[in-house]
């Protein structure tokens, strides 16, 4: 459940938030919605796909983080940190926008007033901390980004540039993963676009986004290698003689 309140320097002065990536705070997701503003930052690490919202069927863009339910391969197995860019929707943690206000879900597992290792939101004098300022900056990216992404996706669908793809990956431990419900650019349809449409997509900056999405697919095999190493490590540790 959520318990969202508009952030206020008096009421929430003592509030602290765990900002770091961690499975216990909800980063254990294999797919997260992303916005077009961050595509260029995502591409060196994550495959970007289209997928459908389970509740509305509407298409959205998302980054793939893992293969199994709840698996985020960018959360290091040893609990350390990964230097990869973290998608805005994970960075935002418990924050929302309500109209033009910044709000916080007080019931989110990241919110914790008593833990001194967590980030403060306000200084004693009520000024926002550097962390809170970074969240405000992030929201200024994310909010218009969602709208831009929605229009981008609608344009792709309108020109029939989207096709479904079934991902089937075999791992060295003999297991397989099949992932359904993902969609990619239809490159055949892209090549056949009429000149005026291609030019329009270029002018709107969409052609670049399209090619970033296509390039990002290379990250599927990088992600698979990451998972493969973890699977093999798990087998190794099982095979080690017990003391």
């Amino acid at each position: 459940m959520t318990n969202v309140a508009v952030l206020n320097s008096q009421t929430h002065n003592a509030l602290r938030v765990h900002a770091e990536a961690s499975a216990q705070y909800g980063d254990n997701r294999r797919f997260v919605a992303v916005v077009v503003n961050e595509f260029s930052l995502l591409v060196p690490h994550y495959p970007i796909f289209l997928s459908k919202d389970a509740d509305t069927g509407a298409f959205y863009c998302g980054a793939m983080l893992g293969f199994d339910e709840g698996e985020n391969l960018f959360l290091p197995a040893d609990g350390g940190r990964d230097d990869a860019y973290r998608p805005l929707n994970l960075q935002r943690g418990p924050f929302y926008t309500l109209g033009s206000d910044l709000a916080i879900d007080l019931d989110h597992s990241r919110v914790d007033a008593s833990n001194i290792h967590a980030q403060r939101l306000f200084e004693d004098n009520g000024e926002p901390t550097e962390y809170l300022q970074s969240i405000r900056a992030l929201m200024r990216e994310l909010r218009p980004g969602l709208e831009r992404t929605k229009i981008f996706v609608e344009t792709l669908l309108q020109h029939k540039l989207v096709e479904s793809i079934d991902i089937d990956v075999g791992f060295d431990d003999g297991s397989n993963r099949q992932i359904e419900g993902l969609y990619v650019m239809d490159q055949e349809a892209l090549r056949k676009l009429p000149d005026d449409v291609a030019l329009e997509l270029f002018r709107r900056g969409y052609l670049q986004l399209i090619y970033l999405m296509i390039a990002s697919l290379k990250q599927v095999s990088v992600l698979a290698q990451k998972k493969n190493r973890r699977l093999l490590n798990a087998i190794d540790s099982l095979n080690q003689p017990r003391a």
Binding site: K52, A54, D55, T56, G57, A58, F59, L157, G181
Partner: protein, 514 residues
């Protein structure tokens, strides 16, 4: 001299007329710029009958092919999902007497006939539940797909329930906006014939003379072109199918969110049966009965018992049913589609599917010239006769398997004199072998495939003799298929939303085309 066929005139603007116009116009879109035309002439004064709120899964492919968005179809035609039919009280009239005729084939239907295996060991399940998930999906009120499933695709096979009164105008708009169908509102005063007996033109009250070289009669029961003008007779089959009257009523839901069945419910009565079709805004319910076996008063009473006394003031519409079809369907340059071709009680929702199949046949075999038209007409008549015959047999099958003896209606129905010979022979055959591929239902566009016969036969307790030794070779495969069905059923039950919830979501968000 060759007389090129490039002008199709459809008379009648009901479901049959508009669906036929759409199918022909979509198929011949490319020829339009070379002068091919489809014209629909409709009387401004005759209101369509609006039969048939149930359809077959074929309608999905048909709508897709004519370029309609499934989302729009749901939003404009009060459409709902149909996953088959549940037949209650048809066998023994005891509480719990019910079986499903689902739209999904039995598991692995193309590899193995599961009937003998089920007969040998029922595993404590009905035939339908042993071989297919759909009966359980219907019982649980689930829809056949999810909001993420693309248009016209399903996790389970499905057809639609729809409001025929909205479907025809919806098709009309699509035909005139997108498919270049010419729409003329005019009353036909006279049908003009040429020297060889072909229809050359129509004289109309409001639009003068309308000429064409292929005429499609979609004028409903009156069969103005094929029957009245060209004199083709009507072949009555009320000696086989006794029901001749329907009392129809529209029943509102208690609340806007009342659960809605995703199947047709057909409940046998003393002298007929009651259909119950769930649309998003109302239930369409009707009592189809034999006036030779029941008075109208008794039939109204039975209907009221079904819908509940609180609905006793709802208007009831009486519709006469004349079971049967034209002696031929295509004569000279005139072909009949829809009620003009014939009608049968709506026990298996055969009306709209027959329109689709006939229109498709006309569209695919559109004669290039008048000179070859008679060859195509002969073929069309053969195929269409076969279809009507098979539908009559299949409807009769529901009656002949009954064990009910509570009224003359039911005992008359099992009288061998009322059973077509072909069906009689099949029933003899099925005592020793169950219908499957090597049966005779092998046409490319069979209206009811062998699977349908399996569901009805074994749903109604028919027994086919089984030789246990004969099955040992395929027992492992059969067990695998039956276990697969259990797994698929479990998965679908976990995934699929409630029927009404999905329809609400389709209205709100729409479905994606991919």
């Amino acid at each position: 001299m060759n007389h090129v066929i490039n002008s199709v005139v459809i008379v009648g603007g009901g479901t049959a007329g508009w669906l036929t116009a759409a199918i022909i116009a979509a198929r011949h879109q490319g020829r339009m710029k070379a002068g091919f035309s489809v014209t629909l002439v409709e009387s401004p004064n005759v209101s369509p009958i609006g039969v048939g709120e149930g359809t077959w899964p074929t309608l999905r492919a048909t709508l897709k092919k004519i370029g309609i968005s499934e989302t729009e179809f749901f939003r404009h035609c009060d459409s709902a999902f149909k996953q088959g039919a549940k037949f209650a009280r048809w066998t023994t009239d005891t509480p719990g007497d019910a079986y499903y005729h689902p739209l999904m084939l039995p598991q692995g239907f193309t590899e193995l006939n599961l009937v003998p295996h089920w007969l040998g060991n029922e595993h404590g399940r009905t035939f339908c539940d042993a071989v297919c998930p759909q009966g359980e999906l219907c019982e649980l009120g689930l829809s056949p797909k999810m909001i993420t499933t693309p248009e016209y695709q399903g996790a389970a096979n499905y057809a639609y329930h729809l409001d025929a009164g909205k479907f025809a105008p919806f098709l009309q708009k699509h035909c005139t906006d997108k498919l270049q169908v010419r729409h003329i509102l005019a009353d036909v005063l006279r049908v003009n014939l040429n020297e060889r007996g072909d229809i050359s033109s129509l004289t109309t009250e409001q639009a003068g003379e309308i000429s064409g070289n292929l005429f499609v009669d979609c004028t409903g029961f009156s069969a103005m072109l094929l029957g009245k003008t060209l004199g083709v007779g009507f072949r009555d089959c009320s000696d086989i199918l006794f029901c001749d009257t329907a009392l129809a009523v529209q029943v509102p839901y208690d609340a806007a969110d009342t659960a809605m069945a995703s199947h047709t419910i057909s409940t046998a009565q003393t002298a007929g049966w009651i259909w119950d079709i769930g649309l998003p805004t109302r239930r369409g319910i009707g009592h189809v009965y034999s006036s030779r076996h029941s008075s109208e008063e008794q039939a109204r009473e039975a209907l009221l018992n079904y819908i509940g006394q609180q609905h006793k003031n709802l208007p009831v519409r009486k519709i006469p049913i004349r079971s049967g079809h034209r002696e031929i369907f295509w004569k000279n340059n005139c072909v009949a589609v829809g009620l003009a071709a014939g009608f049968l009680e709506p026990l298996e929702a055969s009306a709209i599917v027959l329109i689709e199949l006939s229109a498709k046949l006309i569209a695919e075999h559109m004669p290039a010239t008048r000179e070859i038209m008679d060859i195509i007409a002969t073929r069309f008549n053969d195929v269409t006769h076969y279809r009507w015959g098979r539908i009559i047999d299949f409807l009769k099958l529901h009656y002949v398997l009954t064990k009910r003896t509570d009224s003359k209606f039911w005992t008359d129905n099992v009288d061998p004199d009322t059973i077509p010979d072909r069906l009689k022979n099949l029933l003899k055959l099925w005592k020793y072998q169950s219908p499957w591929f090597f049966d005779e239902f092998d046409r490319l566009e069979e209206v009811f495939p062998a699977a349908s016969y399996q569901y009805v036969l074994y749903g109604m307790g028919f027994r086919t003799e089984v030789d246990q030794l004969d099955m040992t070779a395929t027992e492992t495969q059969a067990n695998r298929l039956i276990n697969e069905n259990i797994a698929v059923t479990k998965r679908l039950i976990a995934q699929l939303p409630k029927n009404r919830d999905l329809i609400d979501k389709i209205h709100q968000h729409g479905m994606q085309s991919i």
